[in-house]
Symmetry: C2
Subunit: 594 residues, 2 copies
Amino acid sequence: MLEYRAPLRDMRFALYELFQADALWERLPIPSEPSRELADAILEEGGRIAAEVLSPLLRSGDEEGVRWEDGNVYTPAGFREAYRTFAEGGWVGLGGNPEYGGQGIPKMLSAMVEEMVASAGGAFGLYAILTSGAALLLDAHGREEQKNRFLPPLYEGRWAGVMCLTEAHAGTDLGMLRTRAEPQSGGTYRLTGTKIFITGGEQDLTENIIHLVLARLPDAPAGTRGISLFIVPKFLVNEDGSLGERNAVHCGSIEHKMGLHGSSTCVINYDGAQGYLVGEPGRGLNYMFTMMNYERVSVGLQGLGCAERSWQGAARYARERLQGRALRGPVNPDGPADPILVHGDVRRMLLTQRAYIEGGRAFAAFVNMQLDLAKYGEGAEREQGAALVALLTPIAKAFLTDLGLEACVLGQQVLGGHGYIREWGMEQLVRDVRISQIYEGTNGIQALDLLGRKVVADQGQTALALFGKIREWAASVTDQPGAIEFVGPVVVAVDRLHSTTLWLLNHVTEDPDLINSSAVDYLQLFGNVMFGWLWARAALVALPQAESDAFYAAKLETARFFMARCLPRVQALAAMVETPSATVMAISDQAFDV
Amino acid sequence: MLEYRAPLRDMRFALYELFQADALWERLPIPSEPSRELADAILEEGGRIAAEVLSPLLRSGDEEGVRWEDGNVYTPAGFREAYRTFAEGGWVGLGGNPEYGGQGIPKMLSAMVEEMVASAGGAFGLYAILTSGAALLLDAHGREEQKNRFLPPLYEGRWAGVMCLTEAHAGTDLGMLRTRAEPQSGGTYRLTGTKIFITGGEQDLTENIIHLVLARLPDAPAGTRGISLFIVPKFLVNEDGSLGERNAVHCGSIEHKMGLHGSSTCVINYDGAQGYLVGEPGRGLNYMFTMMNYERVSVGLQGLGCAERSWQGAARYARERLQGRALRGPVNPDGPADPILVHGDVRRMLLTQRAYIEGGRAFAAFVNMQLDLAKYGEGAEREQGAALVALLTPIAKAFLTDLGLEACVLGQQVLGGHGYIREWGMEQLVRDVRISQIYEGTNGIQALDLLGRKVVADQGQTALALFGKIREWAASVTDQPGAIEFVGPVVVAVDRLHSTTLWLLNHVTEDPDLINSSAVDYLQLFGNVMFGWLWARAALVALPQAESDAFYAAKLETARFFMARCLPRVQALAAMVETPSATVMAISDQAFDV
């Protein structure tokens, strides 16, 4: 069931038909000068690599897992060769800065390759994604000399980059971290401490690993303002870029996890390791957010990618597996039974997957378009892009991964008992996708970020402006034939989101715990409304072409499904959000004693 | 995090305070003559065995798994000794018929032990539960001689019972099964065929394994009416009950699964194995339903048990783990951070678990009380009990297991990154609980059973009568001080369920696919309303005692949480149910080609 086929048609639909990416690329000053032809070529080649090189490693990588021996980590069979192919194809540096060897491809496009890699490669993709994020951070905050030294080999995929934040006692609460950095003569530092949960912290895929490490300088203030950021290479790098001696960075052990077995999750010990300060002291966490925000969207794409793979497996199975008969009479009268696709509930499960996957792909494209506008746009367009990126990044991370789990569970369910058996591959997707709701800031933290920092902090300005845009769009299309079927529910939904947002703004001063107690349901509410809007836009594109073309016909029916069977969640979520925090805060702490 | 402590206080609350089980037991002619004292002793001893004997095997059983070698299956270290202790304690025969050595304990009570075993033992419990179910079937449909021969050793746990339905091409669609039974001289049969997914089909825990096998006699009609039921022992049984020669029943392999690694899931080959017909030819599936309905409630309890265990782990972690500060100011000012229990979203997750677990425990007790009434009651009470059992069994199976997954995912989420690491044990609960939504009839099949066979088939009579009872109850308690806060939302919810039921009855003739397309959302809707009712009843019990007693105070706050944060799902689900089947049926089959 686990063959992978890149959903190129739907990706092109999102790029060109929903968002006119080609027109946008033409007008923005993007150094790689992307065109529709270039983009299509990238998508096709990306799809080929994903299907032919990465996909065959998904199951074997899970069964074999990474192996830790005497400080070395060995990735599963085939990973090294695949990584070389992947790196040599230029995929690691796809979105990188061309001045240092990157390809400068807009995020809206490179993100679609990310989705493919997540679908096909699972754990494999993390090594590359973290490298891209590390390069983004260095490009944004590193000194010229650091960029010259580190970016080219990162973009080439010869070196990898990893992010080193968590310590055993400091996960979400990074202010408590203890890793120390002592200044040395010559402007370098010696780092001492232990980090945990370092994805790709040690591996056998690349010549070098560049650790981006959060640590404290001597006499740094307590809390997050005392955190600085350091480059700590596994092998020191000579002036000419060649590798020097081994640095005092070692992998103390690896974790045994629920899934993502092909990805190494390392305990890393820094024993006086040599490091280089990035930017100013005390600003480490700010810099790290450049990488974290990038990775958050990537983690959302991981959720989406797993969901797509699960959908493909479930849809194939539903077409092939013969059990029972259609309620309206056999559709396969000469066979022993009908394919299970005839059963309404099987279709409901598949369509729920599909509605959230295609909605998610459109949403991710929208967010990534804002990233491109924030990077290459000018004036108000740039500002608006940046504001939307800030607002929507937590939704992209959390909503796409929550739906990722839901979709993978549904896909597994379609296979019945076979869904629970490892060799069919569907249960692996559930195990693999599950981490995406946890790492890079748990989905609860994303929701706090959305409601606290992105909505309440600016008194709802950015959010309310977005709701206004959606209403404007609705007003502008309502007279299109057939539009009201889709626009109607979306206006109702966005009004509900709007009123819930105002309810929160109105009550949060007297009930500050609301920011935490209502956050997750608010994020879910917001996400569903965004998806509703994008599904309505998709439906309007599909409407005039649905009779003559199966792709648009399916798009239209899936839009109908979303309106009828997914969007009603909005009403329940809004009611849950508009609940005083006392519903969770009033119960005594002792009630949680077991 | 994985120590287990049986929730005895809440079990007693459900038994005595919600449902007055002690008064019921006094009045029903139950041969074991249960009293509150006996019940409490059973619960305490069950809790002790669960915590001390079973709980320590949960993680090790998962890591080691079962092993298959040359047709033999070896359970993980410690299982054999634990099973002996468990069997010798009389736990396998707890609910069994006293005429043949069972203990005749009412289901309402024995089910609470089942929950404990599911929480503490995970995979371990299945061997026993299937044995109890097989005994129930033989007691109901076997000949006297069969009962005398097989029931005592099954109740003693010296032998095990297993159910053998599925074949590779026949899962949900049992009508297609092919295993043959050829009559022999002497009234026995020779069975030939291959079954898959046979839980406990082979193991090293018991002296003998009694396979209850669905098979076809020569010239049996096609479909389910051609299915008969056979007893096929692993070792033939001599007249005196001693073991004879090995029967031609062999385990061809075991499955490698997502979870439940300590439970053997076997391919079983019957190569002319000797078997004995149960009851009449052609009625095998009917008989098997005696076992299946029993196992369905048990599988629901498995979902509940995993959820309880996950809640315990998450609550402990939330009390101990220090990260961040309370929004209203530090509660642990001398420590480096506050326990994460201060955060509203952590409490939301824990309370969602708890509201569904305690609601689930009450619901299971209610269903099991109906089972006892159907067995020991008389006249209208007996009939009503049987009707409610039929109506509510699919909800007990599917809703409790769906909530089981949700609760286990939430518990895992509370632990953040540690939730994903195997040694913490929380991810295992997600993997273990997942199968409960699939086996014993997928939850989609349960929903079809509810809507098609239990609601539409009798034109809603049983369901509408139940809604009427709930309204009567509401009317009878509304004047109690403080009641309206809880009764109000429940009446709104039951009215919504009622109108949705009528909508379905009204539309199903013209739109027969509704029975399939709306089934799962209808079951979810029904389940939430039932839980709302039971939470309101619990709140009314707790109200007068909440100020003076922490248990009732927590019960009351959790009831408030359920009303505010869980029950609103009803509104969304009702809207989803009341959707023409065209939303899933109209899209073309080709749209599912990948």
